[in-house]
């Protein structure tokens, strides 16, 4: 069931943050360096270990990839010794489950971390997927075996997303809801996705097109199609998507927002980190303040101050809205240019 709280104390860029996500769609905005991706990676790591049983501290190392895989490098940098705490909460059959990891900046290996709540946490596995900014499907053949055998410097989210993409389709007929979602994706992709010898293909009117010949945006839609088709995205699972706008034409943001809303209605919790006005407005127009979408703005209290956040049910209520601010600034400069010799 959905994540209900994330607490980050002296972790990476954060001093102290208690983030309360909504059960539906969480659209996270913020300037570069305000921790959007870090927040999502922590939440994803917690979801993933509920299924794999990997230590939470170990998973944090794998998804953040600190230098030398030294866990202590994830503690917020300050003079002297310091200790961080990362805690994730969720509701599961009227119980609140908590998973936490605490470790010092001297910690080099995962076993030095104090992990609490791991047993009940993994007693109720939570399906999740993290779609990173860079598209991986075109580079997939051989990547997983390389990743499992060698120390390749790739955050584990890349290997994980391929694992999920390679899952075979669910048994039995596809239910009506999933058929609708799949067909909504097939329109812009003009085809369906097929996997052959670890290679991904788009099967359409032109025959089978390998993913390396497709536009990157189409490959991302293809990934979403696979995740819906193979049942990774089912009720109760969690989707994390870092910058869904990357490589997609803005005209596709509307259909994509429709899919997000349908997934949310089907009981999937969604986290999106975005820098894009159109993505936010498409979500805002669909949710109309109903609470299906929550907008979270991460920001620093002062230029080098601590990171905090503000949440709103509507685009208009986002504060501070750094993306809107960019347009306000452009608008003002455009009027200013026209008034260069100000009328008196």
């Amino acid at each position: 069931m959905p994540l209900t709280k994330l607490r980050l104390h002296r972790f990476t860029a954060f001093d102290e943050l208690e983030f309360a996500p909504a059960p539906g769609i969480n659209a996270i905005i913020g300037a570069n360096g305000t921790g959007k991706t870090h927040l999502m990676k922590v939440a994803y790591a917690a979801c993933d270990v509920s299924k794999t049983g990997t230590s939470f501290a170990e998973k944090l190392i794998r998804v953040f990839l600190p230098s030398g895989r030294a866990l202590g490098r994830l503690v917020k940098r300050r003079r002297g010794s310091s200790r961080c705490l990362v805690e994730v909460q969720r509701r599961e059959r009227r119980r609140t489950l908590k998973l936490s990891a605490s470790f010092s900046n001297h910690a080099s290996v995962p076993k030095t971390a104090t992990i609490r709540g791991a047993k009940p946490w993994s007693g109720a596995p939570l399906e999740s997927v993290y779609i990173p900014v860079k598209e991986m499907l075109a580079n997939a053949p051989g990547f997983r075996s390389l990743y499992s055998q060698r120390e390749v410097h790739f955050e584990e989210v890349y290997a994980d997303v391929l694992d999920r993409a390679y899952r075979p389709a669910l048994r039995g007929p596809t239910d009506k809801e999933r058929r609708k979602l799949l067909s909504a994706l097939q329109d812009p992709m003009a085809g369906k996705v097929e996997v052959n010898n670890e290679e991904f293909f788009l099967r359409g009117k032109q025959g089978n097109l390998e993913f390396s010949l497709l536009a990157e945006g189409m490959r991302k839609l293809g990934l979403l199609w696979l995740l819906i088709q193979n049942g990774t995205l089912l009720s109760g699972s969690v989707l994390f998507w870092d910058e869904p706008e990357t490589n997609l034409h803005p005209r596709l943001f509307g259909p994509l927002a429709d899919i997000f809303v349908s997934l949310q209605e089907a009981g999937i919790q969604i986290f999106l980190a975005t820098h894009d006005y159109t993505v936010l407005k498409e979500l805002d127009l669909r949710s109309a303040g109903s609470g299906a979408v929550m907008f979270h703005s991460l920001y620093r209290e002062s230029p080098h101050g601590r990171i905090t956040f503000d949440s709103s049910k509507t685009y208009a209520g986002i504060h501070p809205n750094m993306i809107g601010q960019v347009f306000t600034d452009l608008y003002d400069r455009e009027v200013e240019r026209s008034l260069a010799d100000t009328p008196q």
Binding site: Y315, A316, F327, T328, L330, Y331, E334, L339, P343, Q344
Partner: protein
């Protein structure tokens, strides 16, 4: 200070501005075939064609709001705005009054429009007026010097202090 009013919106302009109301059947006597912007404002160095659209007018009933919503779809509104500009330009030209660069300002009383919305609306309208004439095709004059779409918020924020918009009813943030 020069004041003018259109529906529920009251607009203050610098006192040097000379305003004439153009959208009046008696003005050009051709209302069966010509449209007109609401106001022509003569400033020292330029002429403003000012058109006011006010969907947020608190006195509008539900049916009027529905009509507004339909008209506000970009294409229909832009067609209307383009015709108003061109007909007004023609009328001013016929009166021998086109002597200064003309700036087209559209004030939309719709406060939920963001700056991103206003920017894209202004860009779309500029393409249709049009504001840019093709190079090397013989055009020697530019019929439109500039075009902006404002709402009350952006008007009050981005224009100099002498230009202000407020609501007569005081209902909106203007």
């Amino acid at each position: 200070m020069t004041r003018l009013q259109e529906g529920d919106l009251r607009i203050a302009l610098p006192s040097s501005a000379k305003v004439s109301k153009l959208d009046d059947p008696a003005t050009h006597g051709l209302s069966h075939c010509m449209k007109a912007v609401d106001f022509v404002v003569e400033l020292e160095d330029r002429t403003l064609f000012l058109e006011v659209k006010d969907p947020d007018d608190p006195r509008a009933g539900p049916r009027e709001r529905q009509r507004w919503a339909a008209r506000f779809k970009s294409d229909r509104l832009d067609q209307d705005l383009v015709q108003k500009y061109r007909d007004s330009f023609l009328y001013q030209w016929a009166l021998g009054r086109v002597q200064k660069p003309i700036h087209y300002w559209v004030l939309v009383g719709l406060e939920q429009l963001t700056e991103a919305d206003l920017l894209s609306r202004a860009d779309a309208l500029r393409r249709k007026l049009p504001i840019d004439v093709p190079a090397s095709t013989g055009w020697v004059r530019f019929p439109v010097a500039a075009c902006h779409v404002f709402n009350a918020n952006s008007w009050n924020r981005s224009l100099p202090a002498g230009y202000r918009v407020s609501r007569v009813t005081g209902a909106a943030s203007a």
